[in-house]
């Protein structure tokens, strides 16, 4: 799902402050606490936003950053986006060596200037000017200065003293100046560990914070936005593409979106309305009708992202989508909404952050947010969510792209924050039923059936359209721990109605079971070995967060080779803790048949950082037991 909703245009702008403190340019004055774990240190970050009116915003930005090593180059971030509404008034960078001596000055005209078309976007009228600089020695310091004027005030750059991992900040200031007729709202987040100084008077709010140590990314950690300190800023009276609006809460905000962005875009041709009404005429329920419409959209359209002018915020007209058969997430969601309306099914436009990280909207702070659009159909029991940019996903399945997060649902009556569907571990089940035979030479012949549901369906359904060759590769990699495996038969079935993916595979491999003198060592778990061990941290900083849980249930019949008999079985094993549980047992059915049963459940949730080691130990234990072997011994000739 490669959708993109360019609402989070980056506004990089800013500062005329003249620092006289020469030590900001030398690299030797950085304290140890700031250089720890840091690839770069922001020496000074100063952003001054000045609203002249609700349709004129000046942003002056100055950033002095010392880069300590090669990884730190990316943190220089000396770039500025612009388009028809954003004029760059100033742009300059000066590079200093470690002693603080100026070694290069880069003028506005020497910045690289390219189209800001990102992957997945066909066209955008946004452009970017960026600094291209090859460091000749580390550390070095860059002073980056910009000033821009923006006619859009719907987005005001937040105060983010640090904007990435492994970057620390010495001094950071932010101010916003505004005329008396404008109201400014702010929200401070994740400053618990820092001393954030705030001053506010009738026409200015300013912030100051010092000495923020670098954050490090951790596996199973919270997302960056949940830990990094920031102040969100919004103007209650704002302008977007020349249209003035007022919104101070999500309800107002939703009203505005509905009125200015959605309303009036529905101009479906009568012929299409009649066509879809005909299509659903035998459906008696809203759900039935919605499924038909969704199928219609999937067959008719494809995802193409074009971001031009207000088109960056506003969906295309539905007649356009109807004619062209393509659109971006806004256009396709809006089109689907219009078709649903044509058959009498009510649905709502939804704005959200897409992506695996489950970033939520701020419940108590209304501002332009999000990078994607989907659709919501309110239902008696459980709302239906529709991803309209994907031609393959089943009706109502949203997967890890938009699941389990707070989103803005836009209705004619106003906006509201709603939580999208969460896939519980109990419904995200993979069921394995299989059997394998071991020959006297240790050869394995196996047949297995896998059924996946819930979030486990997410990683499977694309297999349906893979070629045979790709499938062969897929299964060889899935069972990469079996040497010289050859896949014999593959059959996959995608049940979009029940949202269940079924795979039937048979394979064989020599020397699966290792012969050691007159014994044979047989790895019991052939189909589903968990080899994942979470990374080790000497000093875990953040809480443990398991975003999505799952359940694996395996039942496997094992046929032993005729010349061998059972000598020793692995001990049955059962662990249960707050992270989930694991249970493995081998039962003797008869002298040549064993039944292996395995249950592995991982629950989602957030746990204190002290639990991380226990969580890792749990996975280590599972990996160890998944690697258990049965000892067989050769029958003694009578």
């Amino acid at each position: 799902m490669r959708s993109r909703y360019i609402i989070n245009v980056f506004f990089f702008l800013f500062s005329l402050l003249v620092f006289t403190q020469q030590e900001l340019y030398t690299s030797y004055t950085i304290s140890d606490s700031l250089s720890a774990n840091a690839n770069a240190v922001i020496r000074s970050n100063d952003m001054r936003v000045s609203l002249k009116s609700s349709s004129e915003m000046h942003v002056v930005y100055k950033r002095i950053i010392t880069v300590l090593n090669k990884q730190g180059n990316d943190a220089v971030d000396a770039y500025v986006y612009y388009d028809n509404n954003i004029k760059i008034k100033e742009l300059q960078a000066i590079v200093y060596n470690a002693l603080g001596v100026q070694i290069k000055k880069i003028k506005k005209s020497d910045f690289k200037d390219v189209s800001a078309v990102s992957g997945g976007t066909l066209y955008s009228d946004s452009r970017v000017k960026y600094l291209e600089y090859t460091p000749i020695a580390y550390p070095y310091t860059v002073e980056f200065t910009t000033e821009i004027v923006n006619e859009n005030t719907a987005f005001i750059r937040p105060f983010r003293p640090i904007d990435g991992y492994n970057v620390s900040a010495e001094n950071s200031t932010y101010s916003i100046i505004y005329p008396p007729n404008l109201e400014i709202r702010t929200k401070e987040k994740n400053f618990e560990l820092f001393n954030l100084e705030k001053t506010k008077n009738s026409n200015e709010i300013s912030y100051k914070v010092k000495n923020l140590a670098a954050l490090e990314s951790e596996m199973y950690g919270p997302t960056f936005f949940d830990i990094s300190p920031m102040v969100l800023v919004a103007a209650t009276q704002f302008s977007l593409e020349g249209v003035e609006s007022t919104a101070e809460n999500w309800n107002d905000f939703g009203k505005w979106m509905y009125k200015d962005l959605i309303m009036g875009t529905d101009d479906l041709p009568q012929s299409t309305i009649l066509k879809v009404q005909e299509l659903v005429k035998n459906e008696t329920t809203d759900l039935g009708k919605a499924k038909k419409i969704y199928q219609y959209v999937q067959d008719k359209t494809r995802y193409i992202s074009v971001q031009v002018g207000i088109g960056g915020w506003k969906p295309f007209n539905t007649s356009e989508v109807d004619r062209l058969g393509y659109g971006d997430c806004k256009a396709l969601s809006n089109y689907t909404m219009a078709l649903l309306k044509a058959v009498g099914v009510k649905s709502n436009y939804v704005v959200l952050y897409a992506g695996q990280s489950q970033r939520s909207f701020e419940k108590d702070f209304a501002a332009m947010m999000g990078n994607h659009a989907i659709l919501n159909i309110p239902m008696e029991d459980e709302d239906v969510w529709l991803e309209c940019t994907n031609q393959k996903v089943p009706f109502g399945f949203i997967g890890n792209f938009t699941d389990d997060r707070d989103v803005l649902v836009v209705t004619p009556e106003g906006g509201k924050i709603v939580h999208t569907k969460k896939y519980e571990p109990e419904e995200s089940v993979q069921h394995i039923q299989g059997s394998y035979d071991i020959s006297n030479e240790g050869y394995i012949q196996a047949k297995v059936k896998l059924k996946s549901k819930g979030i486990q369906y997410n990683s499977k359904y694309s297999l349906e359209s893979e070629t045979e060759r790709e499938l062969d590769k897929h299964y060889k990699n899935q069972w990469g721990y079996i040497n010289s495996i050859s896949i014999n038969e593959i059959h996959v079935e995608n049940n979009k109605e029940t949202i269940e993916f079924m795979e039937e595979v048979s394979f064989q491999a020599p020397n699966y079971s290792k012969i050691v003198a007159d014994r044979m060592l047989l790895p019991v778990n052939a189909f589903n070995r968990n080899e994942h061990i979470p990374d080790r941290y000497r000093n875990r900083k953040f809480s443990l967060k398991v975003k999505r849980g799952f359940t694996d249930l395996d039942e496997v019949e094992i046929k032993l080779p005729s010349n061998y008999k059972l000598e020793a079985l692995p001990k049955n094993y059962n662990i249960e803790n707050k992270f989930g549980h694991y249970k493995a047992e081998v039962v003797v059915k008869d002298e040549s048949t064993l039944i292996y049963k395995r249950e592995f459940v991982v629950k989602d949730g957030e746990f204190p950082k002290e639990d991380y080691k226990k969580f890792r130990d749990f996975h280590k234990a599972v990996a160890r037991y998944d690697n258990s072997k049965i000892a067989l011994i050769k029958n003694q000739p009578n």
């Binding site: 990884q71 090859t134 000749i136 393509y326 990469g480 003198a517 990374d535 072997k629």
Partner: protein
Amino acid sequence: MGLSFALSVSAQDYDFGDVSKEELQETFNSIDSSAHACYLYKYRRTHIEYNQATGFQLITEVHDRVKIYDKEGLDFATKALRLYKDGSDEESLVGLKGYTYNLENDKITEDKLKKDGVFKTELSRYRNEKKFTMPNVKTGSIIEYKYQINSPFITKVDEFVFQHDIPVKTLVAIFETPEYFNFKVNTKGYIPISPKKSVKSGKILFTDKTRSSSVYGAQTKFSNSNINFKKNVDEFNLSDVPALKAEPYVNSIDNYRSSLNYELSFTRFPNAATKNYSTTWEDVIKTIYRSSSFGDELDKTSYFKDDIDALIGTTSDPIKRAGMIYQFVKSKIKWNGYYGYYVNDGVKKAYKDHVGNVAEINLMLTAMLNYAGVKAYPVLVSTRQNGIPLFPTREGYNYVITYVKENGQGFLLDATSQYCSANVLPYRVLNWQGRVITEHGNSQLLDLYPKELSMSSVSMMVDIDDEGMLTGVLRDFKTNHKALSYRINYNESNKDEFLEQLENKYKGIEISDFEVKNENDLSKPVIESYKFVKESQADIIGDKMYFSPLFFFKVDENPFKLNRREYPVDFGYPSETAYRININIPEGYKIEELPESGVFALPDNLGTFKYNVSGIGSKIQVLISTKINSPIISPLYYDDLKMYFSQLVEKEAEQIVLTKV
């Protein structure tokens, strides 16, 4: 007879807009059922035309008809065209016309590509991009478009590509040039391609305007004159061209894509001298050598004179001088990431700014060496990404390094990476052969693949306890390319992160006393050492313990999984990994069984695997080495290679058995 017949048929079949119901009804490709889409017709005609106002122009006409079989195939409904520009000269796209055809209720419907489906983007100073996306495309649709690109850059004829990521049913390609232009043809790939050649006549019409005054007033006269000439025509007709499918461990799949390249070799206009572009490698090299962005830059010395004099003043040995200068350039000038054998801002500016592209750095190095009396030559290289320079073209190469020849020894230098040393070149450069440019622009080929083995020798002393916990110390010596990649990795990373990554690579190992030696002393092997603990390294079943003597260093997977392979396996450099492991077994156990020692080899001395496990009392000694002697292995040996790795995985999985006393 056959050809002309076939031609007229194809011309009729694929008239623009003449899409048939049968084509629309097709649900899969009959020759490749896994294809997501297919070019039913792919036509290109490139020709050179004269226009009095603009001079010669290169004109390319394209007409494609594409069938979309499934949803993955929808990607082919969007097309991006790169258009080059240079100052006021720029390529232009004209006459774009497109339709989408669908079958609805047994009737063919058409949707026209309109302006709102066409987008222009300025990518950089030298490149524009035009994209278009077709309307109303779905599974089963056929899209058809045609357009023309007019280019003032007549020496740059885009490659004729015959093999695509999807199959092609009928392909027609035509290249037509006036007799004044002579092009060199280069082909690559596995599909045999040969053009049908013919000659046509052409005419250029000149209009002359003369003005004369007389007593009756001014008068303008027009007169026309014709120049008749011959046109050489190459025509290619292919049908049912299979899709090109990617395979792993290939340096660049484009090396194997069937295609053909026309490169201008010389022009000969009436009453004018022949002008050479390039024909042979000698010509190519001369063109490059004579360019002011190459040869002239080699001759400049004034900018570094004083610094180099001071640097080498105390030594006269050329090899020592070479070493000093190489070190000097590496530490002084940093690479900005740009490739090329031509300088960008010039060596002088690069020297002053301490930053340069590949050519600036290595041409400067060559010039300094020559200045110091060391015999050094530039070497043109095609990087792994750029593919193999099979035919003499200027685009064949994209990189330059330095060759030093002194006292009968020769070695290659690249100063773009500070961790490189003599004959240890960056991985990107290890690609077949380079071309050394000797005096006066003569040249010869030089193998770029390293001859010397890159070693990793691991020695390890471990104790295993009765619960399978492993405690030990490890020391790893790395040389040449293994040392190079280690140095880049280690020196350029955050040390804590490096250690964490190392621990995670060996899933759950816990490391202490980590130390790296010689990470910056390139004259010695880099040495990594540490203590470690790792749990559950043995299976304990009943009164026996089972474990692999290589523990976590065991190779678990055969990298070669496919049943067949078309392309060579490219390792980049020859290498050896050797393990010497001493294992102390837990008290109360004795050795019951050790895996048999063994050796197996790839044919023609391409590689060997040696495996030796011996034990006495409570000590076991393990000696295992794997060696690949050739950087590149032909697909003829693929089965052997696959088998070799399979045996290696098997052998390394064999178990030591201990029994309770």
